[in-house]
Amino acid sequence: MSIVTVQLGQCGNQIGFEVFDTLFSDSHSSQGLCSKRENEAYRASCKERFFNEEENGVPIARAVLVDMEPKVINQTLSKAAQSGRWKYGQHAYFCQKQGSGNNWAYGYSVHGPRHEESIMNLIQKEVEKCDSLSGFFIIMSMAGGTGSGIGAFVTQNLQDQYAHSLKMNQIIWPYGTGEVIVQNYNSILTLSHLYRSSDALLVHENDAVHKICAKLMNIKQISFSDINQVLAHQLGSVFQPVYCAEGSFHYRRNPLGIDWQVRPPLSGLPPLGKMPLNKELHFNTSIANLVILRGKDVQSADLEGFKDPALYTSWLHPIHALNVWKTQRAFSKYEKSASLVSNSQFLVKPLDMIVGKAWNMFASKAYLHQYTKFGIEEEDFLDSFTLLEQVVASYYNL
């Protein structure tokens, strides 16, 4: 089962490259801490999902790159080709000659429809190369202008055209002290549109990843490249093959088959190492948790802490809410690693903050003309606010 990745905008393309690189390096790593046969099964499974085999042997990533200006795409394509180990498809990208400001409305209402056919054709070509399509993985930022606007449009199109396939959007939550004035507007528009057409939103907060780089990894001068690599590591640890059941001999066929259950956004929260048990009185209540263990001693890992009913909502039994995936094959040379993907109240506060800030701006009608100029009316804003308030309320009431 294969995943087709759509990389959108500067953010999406840079992260996408790191993700594929991580996946490839890990699948070809020699320190898997497992038997040769197992390693080969792992590699084959990873390849089926993310890469296409060509005659001369260099795997081609199953990806479509989209951006409104050529610079980042060219950089991404050449970086991949230079490594000599894997590359992107020769024609699997779409870009325009000139970019256009950080304008969500322009991206959604102008760029999107104008280039809809070309972009969807590229995606269709990738889909046809798959023996079986598991779904789509769309990487984009939330608050940037054109990238997020086009991302919302493309996701909607994917929903219409591939109604039966799963779609997961990887969203980058902007820094709280971001530089773009209208980033809150962009965020709420992106989130509300994606909420309607995507199946799962996997969120990474720039602030959180920044902290990981600074505190856990002790990097002095944190660049976007560092941040992207941490992100890619986290995503890779979620996407690489795992066994589907106790004692089964085949890797899970459906990598996007994470039972996201209720649709609200997810947050990625993977520590590298063992997961400490929170002794606080108030937990973030979860609807669902997915724990992924890789490496040594996975069979004997103690996960009782995750089965505590206090972690979950009252109307769901921990048996239904907790999923555990395991494999002995170590990830990215880490002897043991654990990832937690959680659908919980973790994002409520940041979301509420963004909605609040956006609302304040909206109440004073600041910068609205940038949006109404291109067809995003006040009603659309109001709809977005309503939807997000509903989401916040549902999560508060878990």
């Binding site: 399509l133 598991s134 779904g135 039966h164 039972d259 259950q261 209720v262 609807i287 109307w315």
Partner: protein, 426 residues
């Protein structure tokens, strides 16, 4: 209880050994068929013959899909099931219903029930057809099978106390998710079937088929699997031969069943006067039907009058409008929509009408040449038919959803000051 008559009477010359042979053949053609000795004892209503016959009837009457799971059901449960299944099929003798639940008695009655089933239809042949070994890639072209076998019975669970609506939402979401996984798997299966059919072109010994199916490919790839397939085919052959032997000699069996019936005590007079147990309409119900029919006729007349009046009024109001050129495109669109719906309705009606429509699973064969129909079915036609059926169902769903929404709006409107916000994606 009838039996077939034949012009030639082979059983007359057969002699004394014919009966056990015929019964043995019958047993071989049925699943879990007991030995001829059991049959003999059953004629004399011996209790030790009862359990085997209960089990045989259970195997014959239980739904096909439950074969594996229900083989381990206790005898009491099997007895219950057999009784209710026979009753719902209209078995006329009440003695069966009065037999004890532990399955310890009643072998003669069970023998009569078995013959009743055999006389109603070609039972061994039906069972063999169901268990037929499929060598080709079978694709269903109609919904009949899915509707006929509803699957294992799900225990009816009463909710303890009020159920949180979020739990229901969660369950719906999970269901949707599983559906999509299923669809993705099916699409993958189609792609792989297509590949196998393409790659094995020219490999099949049968020229009309041309390529191998999955089962045949597997047989070549895995010799052990091939041996298993061979064994299954041999078993099916044995069953077919037994069925043939049964048919050749069944008259002997029916003559013998006459003696079994004769050996039964006459039914109690009260029982004889009771009407046959038909599970549908009771006596009172028939009267109600008449009433309903009369009311419907009256309603129809009223409706005809009302529509006539309405149409006249509308035409008077509209006058000459609707005839001009600017109306022609609208009229054409309307006509087209009506024709489509009519075609869909006709198709749906023909579906119910009978065997004119193709039924059951068909073997999937990839063909290059444009050979004309015959008994072959073109995938494009089937797809077309299914698509129009899908469109009908979707339209019906949208109508129902609209009705639901209106009802909800009405309910919400009844509470002043309540703002109704629909959930996203409904």
């Amino acid at each position: 209880m009838g039996r077939r008559r034949r012009l030639v009477d082979p059983a007359a010359e057969a002699g004394a050994g014919a009966l056990p042979k015929v019964i043995a053949a019958l047993s071989r053609s049925l699943p879990a068929g007991p030995s001829p000795e059991i049959f003999r004892r059953a004629k004399f209503d011996r209790p030790e013959a009862a359990p085997a016959l209960w089990q045989l009837l259970f195997r014959l009457l239980s739904p096909r899909s439950a074969d594996g799971a229900s083989a381990s059901l206790a005898l009491e449960a099997q007895v219950c099931l057999v009784k209710s299944a026979l009753r719902s099929q209209g078995y006329p003798r009440l003695v069966l219903a009065q037999l004890p639940e532990d399955g310890s008695r009643g072998s003669r009655e069970l023998l009569l029930a078995l013959s009743w089933l055999l006389a109603r239809g070609p039972l061994p042949e039906q069972l063999l057809a169901q268990a037929h070994v499929q060598l080709g890639d079978e694709i269903p072209v109609c919904e009949c099978e899915a509707l006929a076998s509803p699957g294992p019975r799900v225990p009816h669970v009463e909710a303890e106390g009020p159920v949180d609506i979020r739990c229901v939402q969660w369950l719906m979401g999970r269901l949707r998710f599983r559906w999509r996984c299923l669809i993705a798997s099916q699409q993958e299966q189609c792609t792989l079937l297509s590949k196998i059919h393409l790659y094995t072109r020219g490999c099949h010994s049968d020229q009309r088929l041309g390529h191998l199916s999955v089962a045949e490919t597997e047989m070549l790839r895995d010799p052990e699997g091939g041996q298993q397939l061979l064994r299954r085919l041999e078993r099916e052959n044995t069953g077919l031969e037994a069925a043939l032997e049964w048919r050749r000699g069944e008259l002997v069996f029916w003559r013998w069943m006459d003696t079994v019936l004769g050996a039964c005590p006459p039914e109690a007079p009260a029982a004889a006067t009771q009407p046959t147990f038909l599970p549908r309409i009771a006596e009172r119900g028939l009267g109600r039907l008449e009433l309903a029919a009369r009311e419907l006729r009256a309603l129809q007349e009223e409706l005809c009058e009302a529509t006539g009046r309405r149409r006249a009024a509308w035409e008077a109001r509209v006058g000459g409008q609707g005839r001009g050129p600017q109306w022609s495109s609208a009229r054409q669109a309307l006509q087209k929509a009506v024709e489509q719906e009519l075609a869909a309705l006709r198709w749906a009606w023909e579906q119910d009408r009978g065997p004119a429509r193709p039924h059951g699973p068909h073997r999937l064969v990839r063909c290059e040449d444009e050979a004309p129909g015959g008994q072959h079915l073109r995938a494009a036609e089937v797809i077309q038919a299914l698509r129009s059926q899908e469109a009908c169902l979707e339209a019906a769903l949208r109508r129902l959803q609209g009705q639901c929404r209106q009802e909800l709006a009405r309910l919400a409107g009844a509470l002043p000051g309540l703002i109704w916000i629909l959930p996203p994606r409904c």
